[in-house]
Symmetry: C2
Subunit: 215 residues, 2 copies
Amino acid sequence: MAAGKKTTATEKPGKSRQETRREEIIKAAAPVFFEHGFAGTSIDDIIAKVGGSKRTIYSEFGSKEGLFAAIVTDNARHALAALAPEAMAGRNLDATLLEFARELNRVQMSPTVLALYRLVVAEGVRFPELAKLFYDSGPGLASARLSQVLKEFLERGDIALDDPDGAADEFVGMIRDNRHLKTVLGLMSRPSAEDTEQRAQTAVRIFLDGVRPRR
Amino acid sequence: MAAGKKTTATEKPGKSRQETRREEIIKAAAPVFFEHGFAGTSIDDIIAKVGGSKRTIYSEFGSKEGLFAAIVTDNARHALAALAPEAMAGRNLDATLLEFARELNRVQMSPTVLALYRLVVAEGVRFPELAKLFYDSGPGLASARLSQVLKEFLERGDIALDDPDGAADEFVGMIRDNRHLKTVLGLMSRPSAEDTEQRAQTAVRIFLDGVRPRR
DNA sequence: GTCTATATTGCGATAGAC
DNA sequence: GTCTATCGCAATATAGAC
């Protein structure tokens, strides 16, 4: 009766059957959580989507919370991979920040991450571990990486500031601006690529040089 | 048998019995929605808090949604009224921005606005009118006001930028930074007054002059 | 399929405003 | 005293849980 899709395994040579199954479950469960919220989703809802046995879910993820945590970390890992410091090595300040702004924007405006954001903001107070996991593997990690980058440029004398951690937080905030909020609230569809590029450039420009004219 | 509280009416001379009752209900119901979310709150929960009859709620607000909407609009109106005053006239650029940063920070870090933020982000997709109302009377209004201010300074030549609206959004984003998010997620209690002041100053400094050393 | 929870409504009784 | 808002309680409807 279940879905007839036989994607069972042995198709991706690099992955064990367990890994494949794990990914199938995560991929199928995520939209269910997104639609009904954490509390509003039952393991049975997920079984109804992905098929198989509850037993598999519990042995792989331990609990409903464990499954959700896996969804968060999995998405964060995929999404933020491009923000790795290595990806920015050997570039100058402007190019590094611009690339960071683009990547962060791309990540946080993706439908999946937007849905995660809504979900975690909604349930964060009730499930502090989930909130912490989301923050640490998403916005917090982004900020920490940027801070590290800023410190390197600081040592070289390319920039001057008192509080690199604070500045990193504020740059991340610039990227997560009112357009992000409007999109989160469903008031706006995703901005165009040109608009996004334009705003990334503006953010970098402001962060580096400010709006006060130099003379 | 009923609760002995006789707050009946005739205490606020300017308000009709109906108005008084309406406000009592909103005041009592708001924390319930804030704590349990829209779906997690039942009319009976609210009656248990405020007393009286369900019928009153339905004749006044029409439905649970109507009550929810009234709570959001009422709280938004009260909490965000502080963004209205023009304490910014006739000052120079630095002082104006600093005052704006302080004020916006104070508003958006208040417990009520934080609770509203969580609630509206959670339910925004389901209640687009509420999302729009919250945005327009909060972050959107702040951004619009700032944009107007920026345009004035732009005309005077005090600043140089291409896109005042975009820059305003980004400044608002700097104020709603990762500390705001951590607080929304319950990962952090409200930052101290000194920390807040420090960060407001940093944001203004970065926005005006950037982090690149002037030479 | 039964059972529970909960949104919504109906209506007679009561209490406060004028 | 009349009028209206509110109360109290019960009934209906329905969706989801078990």
